[in-house]
């Protein structure tokens, strides 16, 4: 498949690896923001093949992982309504709420459906006029324009039995929160390539300048990640701190303006809670006033929820890159993909799940 195979070619990746080995002279901590990048790193064994001097820290780039428990509980409450068809991306189904998860709700006989695209949920609403269709609109900036387009579509075609449960989070505030934390060890970032496909990388320039930290917009295939690491390490070794773009075949500085236009038509920035991290200012999206009829939290009155998290799960520390899954006493024993304590074990992009799938027996 074009634009995939050449970025997985073993000859090319070996060349890139050799170049990294030749380049690095000091110890460096680099964080890859996106869960998809973590997945690739662990799947292809990149973290084992790069020099030991480079420590890859897995960042919070998994919207599934950082969705607050309250949102999951709200989703479960809404889905457990016989008049509701609850639509969600597959990723969310096994994420544990306070007591249960959406997959178990489905097992109880409620209408919970996995969809591939948000517009499919609007289609379902059109085909089932006597039901309320709710879509769990989760994601980073990458998924926000498609989710916005779905809401816009419903609005423009007068479909009233459709609403969205919004749980969108934004990357730059998360990066700042990590850099501001006193335990921060991150010295360079591999920025999330697909988020930047939509948003561009303008917003990262001020961060690179203010915190004097290199940021390389990086793709997801092994060659992309290795090249991103190479570019980041080069900057660190040379004492530079710029924003560079490894993923130039789809990312431009301004991003996709049309997608942004649709996104900002429907959403506006708001404060947001991140599971395991806490509240971060201006780090999420909410529906604009014009679209409040499409807000599932208002429609179903599920507004006030406060939950305390399980003490054992250290996913917050893992998401901030302070600890690794192997550091968690519950990893692989009490906490595993069948019985996850936190979202980082459930989500296929979660650091704990990636470690479990690929390294579990070695650690244990």
């Amino acid at each position: 498949m074009k634009y995939l195979d050449e970025y997985r070619d073993s000859g090319k990746t070996k060349k890139m690896l050799d170049a990294i080995h030749r380049k690095v002279t000091h110890d460096w901590n680099i964080m890859e923001i996106c869960g998809g990048q973590t997945h690739s790193i662990v799947k292809y064994g990149i973290d084992e093949l790069i020099p030991k001097k480079i420590n890859l820290i897995h960042g919070p780039g998994c919207p599934v992982c950082v969705t607050p428990v309250e949102k999951i509980d709200k989703a479960i409450e809404i889905a457990s309504n016989p008049n509701v068809i609850f639509c969600s991306f597959g990723d969310m189904l096994r994420v544990p709420g306070s007591n249960t998860d959406l997959l178990k709700v489905k097992a109880l006989g409620f209408d919970v459906r996995i969809i591939y695209s948000p517009v499919d949920a609007v289609k379902i609403a059109k085909e089932n006029p006597d039901k309320e269709v709710v879509f769990f609109a989760v994601g980073f900036e990458t998924t926000a324009p498609p989710n916005a387009q779905a809401v816009s579509l419903a609005y423009q075609t007068g479909i009233k039995n459709f609403s969205v449960l919004v749980s969108h989070v934004l990357v730059p505030p998360a990066i700042k929160a990590i850099l501001n934390s006193k335990n921060n060890r991150v010295q360079g970032f591999l920025a999330a390539g697909h988020v930047c496909t939509v948003m561009g990388y303008k917003e990262y320039e001020e961060i690179a300048n203010e915190y004097k930290i290199p940021i390389v917009v990086t793709g997801f295939e092994p060659l992309d990640i290795l090249q991103g690491i190479y570019m980041c390490v080069s900057q660190l070794e040379e004492g530079r701190h710029e924003v560079e773009n490894q993923y130039a075949r789809v990312v431009s500085r301004d991003g996709n303006l049309k997608a942004q236009e649709i996104m900002y038509e429907v959403f506006e920035v708001s404060s947001s809670k991140w599971r395991g991290i806490g509240e971060i200012e201006e780090s999420g999206f909410k529906l604009k006033e014009k679209y409040k009829d499409y807000d599932a939290e208002l429609k179903f009155g599920v507004l006030d929820y406060t939950i305390e998290e399980s003490g054992e799960c250290i996913s917050g520390l893992i998401l901030q890159g302070i600890k690794k899954p192997g550091d968690c006493p519950a990893f692989g024993t009490k906490c595993n993909p069948e019985h996850p304590l936190g979202a980082t074990m459930v989500s296929t992009e979660g650091a704990c799940s990636a470690y479990y799938l690929y390294k579990e027996k070695k650690i244990l």
Partner: protein, 354 residues
């Protein structure tokens, strides 16, 4: 209070069966959860030397002859899918389980559970498929049963088949026969069946030429045996895919297996759909593929035989048995050469965006 309750539960039930109150779809997925259910409940109550082998079928001796006996149920939805229907699946599935024991399948039973409202003409199509599948695999259906349930209580049609086959005295094919140094062959490309089913799901809306690989395996297995290939173990790939089959054998035979990812064949279209849905082809269901653990010296010859088969274009040597007497582990060497543990699938694969 919660903690206390948990401690009490632990004390009173030394083998906690499950942390789920109800059965979930993942329990039928062919992965870890299903295996847990089998281990912790079924095997706990039903254990005996034969079922403990946990091979695809049970081999036993009666009146001086070796027989293999197996059963399987078919609940596929949709009932008609690209490349086949539930009828041929029901025949081939059981024929294949018998072949995996090294048996020559001879007779099948056929149990039908029909939902009120199921179209008679669809039923007839399925029965005709069953007839054709039996002819293709050289077996006969010699007994059967039919039940009808109320509308809403069954997914159109459920089928159960049980099968019996004869095992030659000199054939001994099971996980316990696997030896260090055995080479592992894969009879063809993977993922067609699972993806063929996926592409028909309305809400996923794909257009593709992918057809299920649903096929009988007894003829090719017989060919390998006739050509004197020393086969130690066979396993057909079904739910949970290649990944689960490798793990099952690794755990039953207590071996360390090493597989090369680049040697596993996947056709372009299957790859395309897997990429979009975020599926790993290694865990996608198949219905006409198997893995064979053979004596190292016979591997090349076995590969030639597999490749000469109708669907054997992508047959390949995928790995080897590194050592025996381990806890059962499958290592997958990635395209870049780094090894990672290939675990059993947890639950079932769900389309993902992340």
């Amino acid at each position: 209070m919660e903690e206390e309750k948990n401690i009490l539960e632990k004390l009173s039930c030394p083998l906690p069966i499950a942390d789920y109150d109800t059965v979930t779809m993942a329990h039928g997925g062919g992965g870890k959860m299903m295996n847990n259910l089998i281990e912790k409940m079924f095997m706990h109550y039903l254990s005996n030397t034969m079922i403990n082998e946990k091979h695809d079928g049970a081999v036993f001796t009666a009146e001086g002859h070796k027989f293999a006996f197996t059963t399987d149920s078919y609940v596929v939805n949709p009932v008609f899918f690209p490349g086949g229907n539930i009828g041929e699946l029901a025949v081939y599935g059981t024929v294949n389980d018998l072949s995996m024991c090294g048996a020559k399948p001879i007779y099948l039973s056929l149990g039908l559970i029909l939902e009120e409202g199921f179209l008679i003409k669809d039923l007839e199509k399925i029965i005709i498929s069953i007839k054709n599948a039996c002819e293709k695999s050289g077996v006969k259906i010699i007994t059967g049963d039919t039940k009808v349930v109320d509308k809403g209580k069954g997914d159109g049609i459920f089928i159960n088949t049980a099968g019996i086959g004869i095992v030659r005295d000199d054939i001994n094919i099971s996980p316990s026969q696997v030896k260090e140094g055995d080479v592992i062959l894969l009879s063809g490309d993977i993922g067609r069946h699972g993806i063929a089913i996926m592409t028909t799901r309305e809400n996923l809306d794909f257009e593709s030429g992918i057809k299920s690989d649903c096929a009988p395996l007894n003829n090719i297995v017989q060919k390998l045996i006739d050509e004197k290939i020393e086969i130690h173990c066979l396993r057909d790939l079904t739910r949970g895919g290649l990944g689960s089959a490798l793990n099952e054998i690794a755990s039953q035979a207590k071996i360390e297996i090493e597989i090369e990812e680049k040697s596993i064949g996947v056709i372009e279209e299957v790859r395309g759909v897997c990429e979009i849905l975020g599926f790993d082809p290694i865990y996608v269901a198949n219905e006409g593929r198997f893995i064979a653990f053979v004596k190292k010296e016979d591997a090349e010859k076995a590969l030639k035989i597999l490749k000469s088969e109708e669907n054997g274009e992508f047959a390949s040597i995928i790995g080897e048995v590194k050592s025996k007497n381990k806890n059962g582990i499958v290592i997958l060497k990635s395209l870049m050469g780094a090894g990672r543990i290939l675990d059993m699938l947890s639950g079932e694969q769900l389309p993902r965006i992340c």
